[in-house]
């Protein structure tokens, strides 16, 4: 078999195999059981809590969780604004990069706080090393926030009736120190030994063999790239992200970075099963997500490997596929695979330029973010999927004429209203944003890098990426100006916190309800049939919401090229 395809299969298979034991470890961490790392990390965590005066054993109800989460996120946002706007005179700025403008700092700070990493700047010239280190802190903590939120749901669903759902700060710190940190250290060291820089020396300059003098941007890249993937953040150290030969030097690092971004979202599914002692439920979720992932990923790889038909007409050798925006060391198969993995999971790091993907591959990347529930980002993937489970329970309950129940709790009007708001907010933000941008062509059309249908896709992609907290882009879009910085900034806030608050509110309400033991009359929610029901709900909601906009962009472009 072709070595490029084999590489993709190996990358995916290894990740799935390791996700199961890693999921077991994650479940242990959140259950407070003993693990090997206790010796080193318990004192560190104790120190954190002592200094900050937090009693990690004080349990919170769901509202207290949300207040704690929003407060600390707000602190990070303000600190981020300060660092980014003042980086010009602050220390650790060897390349002499200037401070960011207020609108760019607003967008960047929000974007990293909400785990999106939409970057309207280029890493080489837009941020100092101090800012990069600060953004790395947000890489850890924003991923930890998502995971802590998911665990609140785990706890709420585990107990038969519960008011108290653990301590937010405890879950946040454990996510960072026990899960993200050890994995990041391993990945960062692997990258450093494969040629990724880890230095504070600033820009280098060389004379090429043909005699041109060029700069070479370095920096503390290895540490940054590791957590950018493990935390499904995706904000690159350099402008070209993981297509850059220093961020991603060879095929082995490409496999490791791919593994790093998929492992925690996959492991969280299995952690859910281990934590609740409902392994069958975890397999149902995994099955639906994997099916959805493959449906998006396989056609994309085929289109990318086949290459651009418009260039094929010119009569050159298309053997390597659609190579515009791609790197020879990865090839078109691994790049196509990555483009779907990074959009399904909310990483948004890229190893090829999505703007130059084939039209229908671009549509698959968009669909991956529009559904936003297959695997998903650190923790938030489970939260989004949870909404669709609630919807599916309700709809199938009505179809068979039974009271909708999930894990022994009745789903009633209040929970359904919250679920619907969360499910509909996502298309609303994407479509309203894109509609607004197209309504003011005198402001936005000058920012487009491509004419026609593809230009529309660039705008649609930008808002989809913001609303899915993804962070990748059709990067031809000239997005560093007040219009894009401010509109996407607000979409980022809404699309991060409402899909966190909604599911937790539902889980909190369910946890308070009386437990009804499962009986022969209960609708089984861990069966393959129910899995197909969830998939159907996801597909129908996505198709109804987004089909018209997709026909205006990628689908129209596809037919125009035939």
């Amino acid at each position: 078999m072709n070595t490029e395809i084999l590489g993709v299969i190996a990358m995916y298979a290894v990740t799935i195999l390791l996700a199961i034991p890693f999921g077991k470890y994650i479940a242990k961490v959140y259950a407070g059981e003993k693990t090997l790392l206790d010796v080193v990390l318990t004192p560190v965590e104790k120190l954190f809590f002592r200094i900050s005066g937090i009693d990690r054993k004080a349990e919170m109800n769901w509202k207290q969780h949300m207040v704690a989460l929003l407060t600390i996120n707000f602190v990070w946002f303000l600190l981020g604004m300060f660092v980014l706007m003042n980086q010009g005179w602050l220390p650790l700025n060897p390349d002499g990069n200037p401070g960011q403008t207020a609108d760019l700092a607003f967008n960047t700070s929000i974007s990293f706080v909400v785990n999106c990493n939409l970057q309207h700047y280029s890493g080489e010239s837009g941020v100092s090393y101090l800012s990069q280190l600060f953004l790395m802190f947000l890489h850890f903590l924003s991923a930890g926030t998502g995971m802590a939120a998911a665990v609140v749901i785990f706890i709420a669903l585990k107990e038969r009736t519960a008011e108290k759902l653990g301590n937010f700060y405890n879950l946040l710190v454990l996510s960072c120190t026990r899960i993200l940190l050890p994995a990041s250290i391993l990945v960062a060291i692997f990258l450093a030994f494969n040629g990724t820089p880890m230095t504070f020396g600033g820009k280098d300059s060389i004379i090429s063999m043909q005699g041109d003098t060029v700069g070479v941007s370095t920096g503390p890249v290895a540490a940054f790239v590791a957590i950018k993937h493990l935390g499904t953040n995706g904000g690159g150290f350099y402008g070209a992200n993981s297509a850059h030969p220093l961020e991603n030097p060879n095929y082995a690092t490409n496999m490791v970075e791919m593994f790093a971004q998929m492992i925690i979202p996959l492991a969280m599914i299995f952690a859910f099963g281990f934590f609740l002692k409902r392994k069958k439920m975890a397999w149902m979720i995994f099955g639906v997500m994997t099916l959805g992932f493959l449906l998006l990923c396989v056609p994309t790889i085929i289109w990318e490997v086949n290459g651009n038909p418009a260039i094929a007409q010119m009569g050159v050798d298309m053997g390597s596929g659609a190579m515009e925006g791609k790197e020879v060391r990865f090839g078109s198969a691994a790049s196509g695979f990555w483009s779907i993995a990074t959009t399904v999971i909310s990483t948004g790091s890229v190893n090829s330029m999505h703007d130059s993907s084939m039209p229908l591959s671009g549509m698959m990347q968009l669909l991956a973010m529009m559904t936003n529930a297959f695997y998903g980002g650190c923790g938030v993937g489970i939260l989004n999927f949870f909404i669709f489970i609630i919807l599916a329970v309700f709809i199938s309950g009505l179809m068979v004429g039974r009271t909708p129940e999930f894990l022994g709790k009745k789903i009633e009007g209040r929970e359904m209203k919250i679920a619907m708001i969360v499910a509909l907010l996502h298309p609303l933000l994407i479509l309203a944003g894109t509609a607004l941008a197209t309504a003011f062509p005198e402001i936005t059309s000058a920012n487009l890098n491509n004419p026609g249908f593809h230009g529309f896709s660039e705008m649609l992609y930008e808002y989809t990426s913001s609303a899915a907290n993804n962070g990748s882009g059709f990067e031809g879009l000239g997005d560093n100006n007040p219009w894009w910085n401010i509109t996407t900034g607000f979409i980022l806030i809404l699309s991060r916190f409402i899909p966190i608050i909604g599911p937790i509110a539902i889980a909190g309400l369910l946890a308070n309800k009386k437990y009804i033991p499962e009986s022969a009359g209960t609708l089984r929610t861990d069966s393959a049939t129910f899995g197909m029901m969830v998939l159907a709900v996801i597909v129908i909601i996505t198709a109804l919401s987004f089909f018209p906009s997709l026909t205006l962009g990628p689908i129209a472009e596809y037919f125009s090229m035939r």
């Binding site: 590489g7 704690a68 090429s208 063999m209 060029v214 925006g325 593809h454």
Partner: protein, 185 residues
């Protein structure tokens, strides 16, 4: 809110020190053991320093040419062209690259030009081309340098990097090492 704000600020500060200073310091310390102490892979030839992983502009006929680049192989920045597949202006550029290639490589059939030689990479710094893209340039280099084609094919052969473990990923060849080998002939 009030009960949370001070713990939140204090926890932020202590974790900030840990994740932005202690963690990178640890990785930096380990990277001192890595090749070239964590400054990226470097090749030196004739007293000049080059980065092995950073591609360079090679447009002269006596060198193996590298891929087109949207940033002119200046690694002070990075990025692709971000041109969409149906963009007529872009397709015109690709056509012009094919024509230029044919002018510089008389006797080469259009269907033997691998597509990566006429399309720009994502980073603009791609250090590699496929072995096919190197082979298609052999005739030109042999006639400019007045050496046998076999010798140049040998250089390609000895510099071709096989897939990882022989199993995963594409074949490739680093343009810089090819050209350094050419200069030694």
């Amino acid at each position: 809110m009030k009960t949370n704000i001070f713990p939140a600020i204090k926890l932020t500060l202590v974790t900030l020190i840990f994740f932005s200073a202690v963690y990178p310091a640890l990785i930096w310390a380990v990277a001192q053991l890595a090749p070239n102490n964590g400054h990226g892979r470097v090749v030196t030839a004739n007293g000049k320093k080059y980065y092995a992983n950073i591609g360079q502009t090679f447009t002269k006929d006596r060198f193996f040419n590298s891929r087109p680049s949207a940033v002119g192989y200046n690694a002070a920045g990075s990025g692709g062209s971000n041109k969409g597949p149906s963009n007529p202006e872009y397709l015109g550029i690709v056509q012009a690259r094919i024509d230029t290639f044919l002018v510089h490589n008389p006797g080469v059939d259009k269907k033997d030009i691998p597509v990566e030689l006429v399309t720009a990479s994502g980073s603009g710094l791609d250090p590699d081309i496929s072995p096919k893209a190197a082979l298609v340039q052999v005739k030109r280099i042999a006639s400019v340098r007045k050496v046998s084609e076999d010798k140049i094919k040998q250089i390609i052969d000895s510099n071709t990097e096989k897939p990882l473990l022989g199993l995963f990923g594409p074949d490739k060849v680093n343009v810089l090492s090819l050209n350094l080998a050419l200069e030694k002939l």
